[in-house]
Subunit: 422 residues, 2 copies
């Protein structure tokens, strides 16, 4: 494959080329669509695509109509996000052909900035656990991870430079690690969630998949000044969860850590306190209780069209009372407060992004390495740090202090330059 | 009017009557519908109503099909909440006749518990400032308050015992005070917001209008045990905002406070710290920035169908960068943390619910007395405490500690018994 083709450019390079006139939005969109035409029968990253419409929108941009910071840039959006002129099915047969009344806020804002919505990417059923058809771009016998399966695969496979995803447990971090791309889950609520089909409103967080950290930063923050961070303080966060990381993950993280130290980072180690480690169990209870409410309509009207595992999940906390739920919410807030102490002498934490390489089969893998940080509302980001025994990508997760997304992104830029990437 | 008619019963009394067989759901629904038929040409509380469907649903409940804690109880929902089998227009001509794919979570959960959705109540445009047609039930020359105008008016006028509303500034507390009913805005996120058309996802909070505190408690928490609170500690929270309260409000709150003391409450006074008083200005900036994103689709596609004041609002913070927004979110979280200190030696705070009586004209009144507490994510509740010079209701607002909704409701039950009600 020709990785110098426009569809493999980073978002910032593509925007620069459009800006200086060496590339048109139409040419870029066509290159992406050709890649999709060539590859998507195997990868199945897209749930809905309307090539003619995307080309027409790009032509309008090229004619100078509208556009701002993302002028001419193609993007995709996970099919859990509403779109007014493309169907939105939330990964469920219940919503086949559904046409929402409005674009989700993140889609509309990207369009206002001049980006071209190429298509909607496949998602696990209601962004939970039951897989969609998407395959790993490098090995069709394997999962790309989930639930933002199509978004991760599309960016990894050169189909689109940017795709929105969402995370309730590890639905951005894990597929980014599996597919070898950057996955950025911002602080809870930073990207406006209007038009996201919620499954757990207290946890659901919109984020982006890109090929570089700089792209993720630019798509979310535009040209904001970068915080000075010459020698980031990176704390390797140890916990019992590391026992579930495969040897190649642990070894790759060790090598990455050595690279960070050689590169000038101040690396330390800290143990995740027991009360925070226990909070991961609260994420499961909270998300199950909220899914029962968020999907109450579908649960009652279409019980036979929910997958068995989703039916099981929405019934998991059927016995929890609202008073118990209120208690659980207070515990969540207390844990979020406690988590601040993790950053007393660290800018970011380093943690596994997934157990190991993408697994054989379509099961999307355990969310264990992402769920706690989602529950704590902390910004997190996965970057590729090498390959495992099957030749597939491994990721490292960096986690930022509460609301310190720009500092996380600065540390991730630093770290990205020191990671082994293929 | 016959206030012993079934449509004037409290929710708990109606449920008891249905349970013991002295009232059928159908009879109750018909009584509500008759009241609506008689009165709604003047009040205009309902945006969408389907009487035959409601009667049919009540008949099914009476036949014993399904139902739980709210078996047979009619309710209404603000038309900012999605409903699958009644139109949902969000108070905007853009969405005339719109049919969402699913019921909002709170509607679906109420239905699962056996409640009968009577209709959708009128809302200000996208639950913001531009009034809908609803009139004050006691004086058609006056506003019922907003943005949950129809929900407050319908409960006050005997059209329905319970109605869901939502609050981003003071959209539950103010209309409840104006209309002389109980308005309960829970802690942020307690009632699942799935299916709410968001205008400011970090603030939008679903709540309920009822005729008694016990009803509000039951609808949200069911039969949860009530915290023991024999002599609640109530702190009158003083602030510069009191200068905007009219003399009748200040006098009514003074009389109410004396009643609370006589009733055994331990009443103290505390000054709102300056940094928290200043946080009210952050609520305005945050909600304007988020509205710009949440309504991006409507803003771009239908600019001429937004009211001038909504267009102004969504442009108010057009210059705020995402980095500034991230800063603002951190300031919000810091203010939320500081607010905990307000409850060091108080169970609840006492504060005005509105400037005074409902004003002449259709302007819905200032949100000033609600906006800060919404921004702080604290649970709040308005109860009627008497009448003003025009003979219209005045309300008192009680504010609970973070996540302490059941304690707030217990204190409000205590206080309600000591308030002058007509």
């Amino acid at each position: 494959m020709n990785i110098q083709a426009p569809n493999f450019l980073s978002a910032l390079s593509a925007l620069q080329a459009i800006e200086d006139g060496s590339l048109s939005s139409e040419a870029l969109v066509r290159a992406c669509l050709e890649r999709i035409a060539e590859r998507d029968a195997a990868v199945q990253a897209f749930a809905h695509l309307d090539p003619d419409r995307a080309i027409r929108l790009a032509q309008e941009i090229d004619k100078g109509r509208g556009g701002g910071a993302l002028r001419g840039l193609p993007f995709a959006a996970k099919d859990i996000l509403d779109s007014a002129d493309l169907p939105t099915a939330y990964g469920s047969s219940i919503y086949a052909g559904h046409r929402p009344g409005a674009d989700a806020a993140c889609i509309a804002m990207a369009r206002e900035a001049g980006a071209v919505l190429l298509g909607k990417t496949a998602t696990c059923e209601f962004a939970t656990l039951t897989p969609c058809a998407t395959r790993h771009p490098l090995d069709p016998s394997r999962t790309p991870g989930g639930s933002s399966s199509g978004s991760a695969a599309a960016v990894a496979d050169g189909m689109v430079p940017v795709a929105f995803g969402s995370q309730t447990g590890a639905s951005i971090i894990r597929p980014a690690a599996y597919c070898g791309v950057v996955g950025y889950k911002p602080s809870y609520g930073l990207i406006n969630s209007s038009g996201l089909k919620h499954v757990s409103p207290s946890l659901d967080t919109i984020g982006v998949f890109t090929r570089t950290v700089a792209d993720a930063r630019y798509v979310v923050f535009g040209a904001a000044p970068e915080p000075a961070l010459h020698a980031p303080r990176i704390a390797v966060c140890e916990s019992g969860q590391w026992d579930s990381a495969r040897p190649e993950t642990v070894e790759a993280l060790r090598a990455f850590t050595r690279g960070l130290e050689r590169g000038g980072a101040r690396v330390s180690t800290r143990r995740l306190p027991a009360n925070l480690e226990a909070a991961a169990a609260m994420q499961i209870r909270l998300s199950a209780f909220e899914a029962r409410h968020s999907l109450a309509h579908e649960r009652m009207r279409y019980p036979d069209r929910l997958s068995p595992r989703l039916r099981e999940r929405v019934d998991l906390e059927a016995g929890m009372s609202m008073a118990e739920y209120a208690d659980l919410r207070r515990s969540m807030q207390a844990a979020q407060r406690d988590a601040e102490n993790l950053f007393d002498d660290a800018d970011v934490l380093l943690y596994p992004a997934a157990d190991g390489e993408a697994e054989v089969g379509m099961e999307t893998g355990s969310p264990r390495f992402g769920a706690l940080w989602t529950f704590l509302h902390l910004p997190a980001l996965s970057i590729p740090i090498g390959r495992g025994p099957a030749g597939l990508p491994l990721g490292a997760q960096l986690i930022g202090a509460p609301g310190r997304d720009l500092e996380l992104l600065a540390a991730a830029r630093f770290a990205e330059g020191l990671a082994i990437r293929d």
